[in-house]
């Protein structure tokens, strides 16, 4: 196991960590908050930072955790409502058939540049079909 040298990012290279609008960690100050110069968009993690954290996890021997961070990196591009809509669709009995999930996978690729999430949804669709998880429950 290698110990990633740049972890924790906030300590080793705060200038290299930014929010989605480019503000660095050092720019997230009380004064900036008080003056209203910061919005919720500035306090979100970026796909780049998640990719770096995936690298940290992988170097520490945690490949599955890294893959989750990589899915999450793609998911930063999805609005909250979309995340919740797809979550709901993944619950048992909601999608009705594989077609709904296939359509989601399609859009994840085309609209959100999220190939990992798309593949993940397609894998789910295969298993939902095998295990009859499309059946209505209420």
């Amino acid at each position: 196991m290698t110990r990633p040298k740049d972890y924790p990012l906030a300590e080793t290279s705060p200038e290299s960590v930014t929010g989605p609008r480019g503000k660095t960690l050092d720019a997230l100050t009380m004064d900036a908050v008080a003056q209203g110069a910061l919005g919720v968009e500035d306090i979100r993690i970026t796909p780049e930072t998640l990719a770096r954290q995936a690298g940290v996890a992988r170097a520490a021997g945690r490949g599955a955790l890294a893959e989750n961070f990589e899915r999450a990196a793609e998911m930063t591009r999805l609005p909250e409502a979309e995340i919740m809509r797809i979550y709901e669709l993944l619950r048992p009995g909601r999608a009705g058939s594989g077609a709904a999930l296939a359509e989601v996978a399609e859009r994840l690729e085309s609209e959100f540049a999220a190939p990992r999430l798309a593949a993940f949804i397609r894998q789910a669709a295969v298993q939902y079909d095998r295990r009859n998880l499309y059946r209505q429950r209420f």
Binding site: E11, V33, A66, N68, F69, R130
Partner: protein
């Protein structure tokens, strides 16, 4: 009364233990900790890097859990090597200090659920505890608190959250009595947890979608209610699949929120879908699933199923075993010890011990920092009531359970600060008005039954306003700053910045002294004595510093306070060297060196003058005469008594220590073979001393009195008094002088009202 039952069984029936219901082993019906009727033998088929069969099931027959584990947990590059190692060998590697943790976490990525279960089942409870301590991910142990109350009162939540931070909890979890109060609870706890220091992580356990929404608004910094189950039917009844849960896992990470899953023994049994499989095997499935999903950690170890698991033979060992699988899979483990598994304090104390001495990422995944009735999750193993017992256990074993004592005055200051901060925010943001009376009642209240504060209905209005106006953590930070709560605003901003860097998304991350500490930069490197987590001297002193500790100075101070009263009550007039008596009716009382000179009360609190007077009265009632001598060559009761007896014309003497221990002795007996002894000074009454005087006079007259027996109710007198006894007695022994001769003492009672 006639009875055909040994009445001890009635005594046993009356113990709290007997409120626990124990269940017979029944592997066909899911009641088996380790050996379910349908548990499969371990096995794995691989072809071209793809799993073709696992634990006796062909890929074509995989249920959704098998399929997910095969696709996301099993690492084909390692599986062949790992599965080929005999289970007993793996079990031995787990407890071998020469096998590094990382070798084992690597192998775990190639092991199937049945194999993992088989290996840990081969360890006894002590081996499991040891292996757990070696295998847990982060070196420094930590703890998590529940902060809830029966009214969902935000003022109390803020005050209690602040106290939990001061106690040292790394994480705080809240939930609601009324579901729609979630936003109010989140606001209250996050403001309260910002008092004192930055970095205590906070979660609000609510419905999946709402919890994520609250997290996205910035109020919470972690989540742990993403539950998984070990059978497909239970999973579907929980209204999720491995893919929907994994989607949530990524969703939390995408918003920079720390997340762990939850699973625990017997949840499938409670939900009615156990498939005749053992608790451990089903948990092994859950845990492989969680690793496969990419969760950094798990809340695991019975959890809500702990009481049911513990009703079975080996149930508690199973809970330990599943926790071991969790850390072997390299997951952060918030190791249960939350839902109270027994009404017996002794069972609870026994269960916590391995975690306390071995450490855990979060020893309790919900230590009830509030009173039992205020815990909206249900009572925990430890609660506000028992918190000091936990602090003492840390001190006893010099084991870091993550907590630190707080002082009276500091606790109240912290509570007031949290209440003021939240009251300001609620007023400033137009959520609610708080009166001084409400604040005062909450600040001092131990629990919600003592508060005059918001009702659950009023809280619902506050909660709806927060949600309805789309308030975020930035609004709260700004408001705190406006109100002059700059430190709290800074502390909340610190939490917000955590989510931008994502450092705390890594395995086992908590914040200590303003820095993220995780399995990455603080890995558990235990390889035997002298390695792994060790207490620093500073931390050891913190653990030792519990409330109300006795010192020699304190004993002397208390005695000095009693001295004044005694000075008015009695005078011990020194009459020169004591002579051997000739009066056959006399009883000589030998006083210890510190008696009435440095020590003035017995352990029972009697003034020493009153004790001497009672003995004298007894001697007189028995027809004898008391003569008092001061002995300075010894402070030992037996030798005091024997020395007194040898000076006595009757051959009968009484030895009397300042702490109240007394003995009747006869001049020809061996030192430790006395006539009567009052060894339990703390429960010896003046009547007993009077009786001792009477009996001594009776012996002197050649009679055979009924010995005076001091009845005990089984009090742990050693625990109550021995610290004081040792300090008091050391004061006396330090006063002894070798070869000092007995001195005659004329007692003069001044104040007759004693």
């Amino acid at each position: 009364m006639d009875s055909n039952r040994w009445k001890r069984f009635d005594d046993w029936d009356a113990r709290a233990l007997r409120l626990d219901k124990f269940a017979a082993e029944d592997p066909e019906n899911g009641f088996s900790a380790f050996a379910g009727k349908a548990d499969p033998a371990p096995g794995l088929g691989l072809a071209d890097g793809v799993v073709t069969a696992m634990d006796g099931v062909a890929a074509a027959d995989f249920d959704m859990i098998d399929a997910f584990i095969a696709a996301h947990h099993i690492d084909p590059a390692i599986a062949e090597e790992a599965m080929a190692i005999p289970s007993t060998d793996l079990a031995r590697m787990l407890v071998d200090i020469n096998v590094p943790r990382t070798d084992l976490t690597r192998l775990a990525r190639g092991l199937t659920p049945a194999k993992l279960a088989e290996v840990v089942a081969g360890l006894n409870a002590m081996e499991i505890a040891f292996a757990y301590s070696k295998m847990r991910a982060r070196r420094t142990p930590g703890n998590q608190a529940h902060v809830t109350n029966a009214k969902d009162d935000p003022l109390q939540l803020a005050a209690d959250a602040a106290v939990a931070v001061a106690l040292g909890f790394d994480e705080i979890e809240t939930t609601m009595r009324v579901a729609r109060n979630s936003w109010s609870n989140a606001l209250a706890c996050c403001v309260g947890a910002a008092v004192g220091k930055p970095g205590t992580l906070f979660q609000c356990s609510s419905e999946e979608a709402e919890e994520l929404e609250i997290g996205m608004a910035g109020f919470t910094s972690y989540a742990e209610t993403v539950s998984v189950y070990g059978t497909e039917s239970a999973f579907v009844d929980g209204d999720d699949t491995p893919w929907s849960k994994a989607w949530l896992a990524a969703a939390y990470a995408s918003r920079g929120i720390k997340m762990r899953c939850t699973s625990g023994a017997a949840s499938e049994l409670l939900m009615g879908f156990h498939e005749a499989k053992s608790l451990l095997y089903l948990e092994a499935r859950c845990l492989c699933l969680q690793r496969g999903m990419g969760a950094q950690g798990t809340q695991n170890g019975g959890i809500d199923g702990a009481p049911l698991a513990s009703s079975m033979p080996g149930g508690v060992r199973e809970i330990m075993a599943e926790n071991l699988i969790a850390v072997w899979l390299d997951l952060e483990c918030a190791s249960g010890n939350d839902a109270r598994h027994s009404e017996s304090d002794m069972r609870v104390g026994a269960k916590i011990l391995p975690y306390l001495i071995g450490g855990s990422d979060l020893i309790c995944s919900g230590f009830g920092s509030i009173l039992k009735y205020d815990n909206s999750f249900n009572p925990s193993s430890f609660n506000g009531e028992e918190l000091e017992e936990y602090l003492v256990l840390q001190r006893d074993f010099e084991a870091d359970g993550g907590l630190t004592s707080i002082e009276d005055a500091a606790a109240l200051d912290i509570r007031r600060r949290a209440i003021d901060a939240l009251a300001h925010v609620m007023k400033d943001l137009g959520l609610a008005e708080t009166t001084e009376e409400m604040k005062r009642s909450v600040a001092v209240a131990s629990g919600s039954r003592d508060t005059q504060s918001f009702s659950p209905g009023e809280v619902a209005v506050i909660s709806d306003r927060i949600k309805g106006r789309g308030l975020t953590i930035l609004d709260v930070i700004r408001s705190l700053d406006r109100g002059g709560f700059r430190a709290e605003a800074e502390n909340l901003l610190f939490l917000v910045k955590l989510r931008v860097s994502g450092d705390y998304l890594q395995t086992s991350a908590v914040v200590r002294d303003g820095r993220v500490v995780s399995a990455v930069n603080d890995p558990n490197d235990y390889t035997g004595p002298g390695t792994g987590y060790r207490l620093t001297e500073a931390r050891r002193k913190e653990l030792a510093a519990i409330r109300d500790v006795l010192t020699r100075e304190e004993v002397l101070r208390a005695e000095a306070a009693a001295e004044e009263g005694e000075a008015r009550a009695v005078r011990y007039n020194d009459m020169g060297p004591a002579r051997a008596g000739t009066d056959p009716g006399e009883v000589v009382v030998g006083l210890s060196p510190g008696f009435g000179t440095r020590i003035f009360r017995t352990l029972a609190g009697h003034r020493l003058s009153a004790v001497v007077r009672a003995i004298g009265a007894g001697v007189a009632r028995g027809g004898g005469r008391m003569r008092v001598v001061r002995l300075r060559h010894t402070a030992d009761t037996s030798f005091l008594g024997l020395s007194a007896a040898r000076l006595s014309g009757s051959g009968i003497g009484i030895g009397l220590q300042a702490k109240g221990t007394a003995v009747i002795h006869q001049k020809d007996r061996l030192p430790h073979n006395n006539l009567e002894l009052f060894s339990n000074a703390p429960i010896t009454t003046l009547d007993h001393y009077e009786g001792m005087g009477f009996n001594a006079a009776t012996y002197a007259a050649g009679g055979f009195p009924e010995p005076v027996v001091v009845p005990t109710n089984g009090e742990a007198l050693g625990a109550r008094f021995h610290a004081r006894v040792a300090l008091t007695y050391a004061i006396e022994t330090a006063m002894t002088e070798n070869g000092a001769s007995p001195e005659e003492v004329r007692i003069e009672f001044v104040d007759q009202k004693t």
